[in-house]
Symmetry: D2
Subunit: 352 residues, 4 copies
C-alpha cells in the first residue's frame, strides 16, 4: 500500500479523498499531541491510528482537548497495525524505542518520520558516541531540516526530524556559512533558551511548577546531544566547527530562542548581513527576518522561524537570534512540513 | 553631621542608638522599595526620609506593603532636607537626576550611595561616550562591587553601586583574570537573562504582562551601557577586553543569570577551575560556588551570588554562570552591604 | 452595498468570491488583533480596512505577527471609509467611541458588530445607569450571545456582542433557568477569574508584569458593569435575579473561568443535572460538557465554552463552572460566529 | 527534658541560650523547608534534627538553599531521636503518618505541632468521616488558629495547626459571627484560590509546569476536607453552618486568596462593617485590614492575613476577602507563631 504514494509525482490532492494514511506512535507526549492536532485537521491525510507505548488507559485521559478534532482512542503500540494501516508513520517515542521500531517499519515498506534523535547523526562513529541505542541505520534516511533538505526529504524512506535546538540554530547560521563568513574552525557559541514543554511530559522535580516558576538555569552542561547535530550540519554546509552549546530552561510553556555568537571570517557590516539573509531566505514562507531581536511569543503555534542578525560594532562579532515554537517548527509542524514534501503536497498544507 | 560617622573607626553599634541617619531619594521604584524594606529593618541605622521626584501622592499609594515596616510617608525630593537629616543618602534615581544631585550632596558633606549609572565609569572619555549626562565627578568616588573594593568603599564619599549585570559578570569572571586564564584581548561573551523588574516600574508595552508572559527576547542589542562597566573593571583587574554583552528579558519578576563564555589563555581542567574559584572566594559569605549551573530561584531575596564554572571538553572554552537577585545583590542589598562598610559595621548587617 | 448581503437568504459562499466586505475599527487592542487574525483567514469574507483611533504609526508597529496573514496597514479611523468599503463593521473601541460611531454607521446602511458594552443593555433606564455614554440606540439591535439568539442575530442591523463574563455565565446558568431550578429571586453568586488580557492593552501599574505576576486579587468590587448584563439576560429567560458578581485578575494572559453558585428551587441530583445540561446543549458544537471542573487551558484559542455542573451534597447548592478564552468566545470569535449568522454562513466558518 | 519548658511561665529567653530544642519531621516538603528556614533563624530555639520519611539521600539534594542557614543533614525519621533530642516536634507529614506518630510523641512527653489534618477535627464522628486514618486523639490538643486560640495553644501538648484555607476563611469571617451578622444556618460560600505549592512537592501531571501554566481550574469539588474545619470553627464561634467551599489552582507558586460570600442576618453598611472589623482586630499585628481587595503578592513571605470586607449594595450580601501566603500564615509561620505561644515567647519571634 505504501506504493500508492509517489512523492515525486504531482500533488495527489483531490476534493474527496485523502492521499495518504498516517499514524502516530507516541501519541500522548507533548509532541505527539501536537501531531494529532495537526494531522486530524490536515486536509490531505487520514489519521488512522494513535498509539502509546505507555499505559494507554491513563494516557488517553490526557487527551480531552483532542476529542473535538479526532474521535479515535489511543491504543497500545502495535507494529503490525502500523504496517497494515499506515503509509507514513510518525514516531514521537524515546530514542531507544524509535531506534528499534523504525528500521522494522522501513523494512516493511512503511515510510517513517522519526522525531527522536536516533537517526539524526549521519556518521556511524558519531552515532556510536552520542546515540549508542541506534544499532541499525535503515537505507534512505534524510535529515529533515526542511528548508535545507527538500530533495532528500521528498525521496526519503525515513526522515530524521531535527532537534528543536538544531532547527533554530541551523536556520540562523547557515546563511553565514554560505556567505563565507563562518569558516571551518570558526568560533561558534549557541546560548539557547527553551520553555518547559521541551523537557517532556514526564513528571519530575525539574518540571514541577514551583521549581520552574520564577527561575532560569542552564542544563545539560557541557555536553548536550544536540551539539553533535549542529556540528554535523554546519560541516556539511562547508564549515566544520566545534560549537559550544548551552541550553537553558525558562518559565514559559512553549517557545525557544537561540542566541548565536560567531567570530566572522572577515569584517562585514549590518547592510551586507541584512542583504545576505534576505537572499538566503527569499521565497521561504516559514522564515521571517526582523530588524530587532525576535521574541518567541511572536511565533507561538506557528511553523515560523524568526531570525535577526546583528553586528557588534565594538568587536566585529556577529549575533544571530532564531526564535521558534519548540513543539511546532522544532518538532511537530516541521514533521508535517516534511510529510507534505514526501507526499508531493503543498509545503504548508495543514500547518498554516 | 556627616562627621559623626567615622568609617575607619571601630564599629559604633550600640544597643540603644543607631550609628547613622540614612535617607532614600527615589523611593517608589522597585529598587527604592527594596531599599526602604532593608533599611527600615536594619538594626544600626535610622531611616529619616524617603523621597520621590515624581507625584508623591500617587506614589505613596504604591507602598502599602511597607507600612508594616516603616511608617513614614514618601515626600517630594528636597536636597536641603537630605543634607539636614541624613548622614548617608541612597540615590535610586534616573541617571540624569543622580548626575545632578550627587555632587551637590557630596559638596555639602553628605556621603552618597548612588544606584544609577552616572558615576560608574572612571574614565572621563568613557563617561562622555556612555553617560553624557554626568557633567561633574565628585572626589572620593568608589566603584561599589563590594567583594572587590572593600577598602575604597569604606573610605568613599560617593559609592557608585554597580549595575546588576556587571555585578554578576565580574564576580563570575574575576577569578579567571587573577589566575591568568582570562588575558588581555581574550574573547568574552556574556549572554544575560533578567526578570522584568530589571526594566523598572514605569508602565509600557514592553513590561505589560501580556507582552512579557510566555516570551523571551534580547534587548539593547548590540550596545547596552553595562558593557562599558564590564570592560572597565576587567581591565583594572589586568585583562583589558572588549566583551560582547547581550541581555534578554524573561517572564519572571526578580532574578538574573549571566552565562559567560571565555576562550582561556591555556588549557585547564575542571579540577583546577574548581580550586581557583574556591581559593578566590574563600571566606566570602555572599558568594556560593556550586557544581551544577545555578538557578536564580535559589538566590531570590538574598545578597548571594551563586557561581559555577565549567570547561567544555570539546572546545576548551570556559562557561561560567553567575546567578543573583537583580533587586538585591544587583542593586539594593549590595548598596546596604556597601553602607555597612562605610559605617564600619558587619558587612551582613540588615541583609541576611 | 450593504444590500448585497441578505442574511436570511441561503448561504452565499462560492469558491471564487467572498460574500462580504468587513472592516475593523479599533484594530490594535487585544480583541482587535484577534479579529484581524480571524478575519484575514476567514474563507468567505474580505477584510477591507483596519482602523485605529489612536496614533496609527505607533500602533502599527505592534502588529508584526499579523503581517503574514494580512498585508494591510492600520489607518486612522474614518467613518466615511467604513461606510464606503465595508458591508459589516466590527467595533472594538471604548464604550464612548462605539456609542457615538455605531448609530451613524447603521444609519448609513452598514451593519455593525459592536464589541463594546454600549448597546448590550436593552432597557433605557438600565443603560442610563450603567452606560451613560450611550445616547442613542439604533433600531435592529440584537444581543449576540450566539447560542441563545440565533434568530435575532441573523436579522440584526447591530449586534451587541456580549461581555466576556456574561458569555461564560449565561451559558453556564441558562439551562438551570429553563429547567426551573433557577427561579426569580434565586440566590446567584458568580466568582469570576480572568487573565490579564481582559484588562486591555493600555499600559498601567495594574497590568505591569511585576504587579500581576504571582498575584491574584478581586477588582471592580462590588459593582462591575457586566453584572447588569447577567441580570438582564437571566430575567429574559424567566428568572429575574440580582446576582452578586466578583471578577478577579489572574497571572495568565488569556482565559476566563466563572464559578457560579446557585441555591436551586428544589432538590435535584447529579444525574438530573447531567441530563438537563446534555439536553440543553445537544448539537451545540461550541459548548462542551465535562464531568470534572474545566480548566481554561483546554479552551485556549478556541470558540468553545466548557461547562461542568455539580451538586454540593451537603448543602444542595449547585456549582456550575464555565471556561472560555476571553479573547475568543468572550470577544472576537463569538463576534465572527455572529458574523457568520448575519451572512447566512456556516456558524463555524473561520473559527474552527 | 520536655519538663524544662513551662509554657505558662514567663519568657525564658536569655541572650546566651535557646529556650527549647525543636525538630522537624517531614523536612523536605515545601512546608518542611519553610519550617527549617524559619526555625534555623529563630533567635530562641535550637533546631536539633530534621527528618524525612522518604529517601533521605535524594531529599537532601533538594536543600541547597538551606545550607547557608542550617548546616545539618536530613536524616531518616526516628521517633526515638525525636523524643531524646527535642522538646517540641513539628510534624509536616502526610495525615496518616502524623496520625500514627503524634500520639506516641505526646505519650513520651514531647509537645507536638502537627501541620497535617489528622487532629484538627474535635468531634470523633467528624474525624471518623473525614480523617479515618486518625485512630487515637491525644489529650491536650488545641486547634492552632493563633489569633483565636491563644490560651489553649499556650497550654497544649499537641497543636493541630489549621489548614491553609480555614486559616484565611476563619480570620475573614469570625468578626461577622461575633457581630451577629453571620448566624446559625447562614448562607456561606467560600471560593478559594491557591498557588501550586499548596498541592505539595510530589511530581505529578497536575503540578507539571505545562499543566498549571496559563490555567485555572477548580479541584476537590464538591467535598474538600478543609470544609469540615471551617464548619467546626464557625459553629464553635456560635454559628453552625454548612459552608460551600471550592478551591481553585492558580498559576503562581505561593499565595492564597479566599473570596467569601455571606448572606447577613440583617442589613448593614460599609461603615458598620469597617468598624466591627477594626474592633475585632485591634492590636493584632498579623492581621491587616484594607479598603480594597487584597492581593496575595502583598503578603508573600509574611505571617500576615490581609482582609477587606464589602457590602454589595444591590443584594445586601457581604463579600469578605482574606489573603495569606499558604506556606507561611497558612502553614509554617503560623506554626512558629504557635511555638512562640507554647514557649511563652513574643508571638512574632522569628517570623517578622
Amino acid at each position: 500500500m505504501h506504493t500508492v504514494v509517489q512523492p515525486s509525482a504531482a500533488p495527489l490532492v483531490s476534493d474527496s479523498q485523502p492521499v495518504a494514511r498516517v499514524a502516530v506512535a507516541g501519541a500522548t507526549g507533548f509532541t505527539g499531541q501536537e501531531l494529532l492536532r495537526l494531522l486530524s485537521r490536515h486536509p490531505a491525510v487520514s489519521l488512522t491510528a494513535a498509539m502509546s507505548s505507555g499505559q494507554t488507559a491513563a494516557s488517553s485521559r490526557r487527551l480531552p482537548a483532542l476529542a473535538r478534532l479526532w474521535n479515535g482512542t489511543v491504543v497500545p503500540l502495535s507494529p503490525e497495525t502500523l504496517v497494515n494501516e499506515a503509509d507514513i508513520v510518525f514516531l514521537a517515542l524515546p530514542d531507544s524505542a524509535a531506534a528499534e521500531l523504525a528500521p522494522a517499519l522501513v523494512d516493511a515498506g512503511v515510510r517513517v518520520i522519526d522525531l527522536s534523535g536516533a537517526f539524526r547523526l549521519r556518521d556511524e562513529a558519531a552515532r556510536a558516541a552520542w546515540y549508542p541505542e541506534t544499532h541499525r541505520m535503515p537505507a534512505g534516511v534524510a535529515y529533515g531540516l526542511t528548508e535545507r533538505e527538500r530533495g532528500s526529504v521528498a525521496r526519503a524512506q525515513l526522515v530524521a526530524n531535527p532537534g528543536c535546538y538544531p532547527t533554530a540554530t541551523l536556520l540562523a547560521l547557515s546563511p553565514l556559512v554560505e556567505a563565507g563568513l563562518l569558516l571551518p574552525n570558526s568560533d561558534v557559541i549557541v546560548d539557547a533558551k527553551s520553555g518547559v514543554s521541551g523537557a517532556g511530559r514526564a513528571p519530575s522535580d525539574k518540571v514541577h511548577f514551583v521549581t520552574a516558576d520564577e527561575n532560569v538555569n542552564a542544563y545539560g552542561v557541557p555536553l548536550h546531544r544536540h551539539v553533535a547535530e549542529i556540528d554535523q550540519e554546519l560541516a556539511l554546509l562547508g564549515a566544520p566547527v566545534t560549537a559550544t552549546f548551552t541550553p537553558h530552561l525558562l518559565p514559559l510553556d512553549q517557545g525557544e530562542l537561540v542566541s548565536c555568537y560567531v567570530t566572522p571570517a572577515r569584517l562585514t557590516d549590518q547592510d551586507e548581513l541584512a542583504g545576505l539573509y534576505a537572499d538566503a531566505y527569499v521565497g521561504e514562507r516559514f522564515v521571517e527576518l526582523t530588524d530587532r531581536p525576535p521574541g518567541v511569543r511572536d511565533v507561538r503555534d506557528t511553523n515560523i522561524c524568526r531570525i535577526s542578525v546583528h553586528e557588534d560594532p565594538r568587536t566585529g562579532k556577529l549575533i544571530v537570534f532564531g526564535a521558534i515554537d519548540n513543539l511546532w517548527k522544532g518538532a511537530a509542524s516541521q514533521a508535517v512540513q516534511n510529510l507534505n514534501l514526501m507526499l508531493g503536497l503543498g509545503e504548508g498544507e495543514g500547518i498554516t
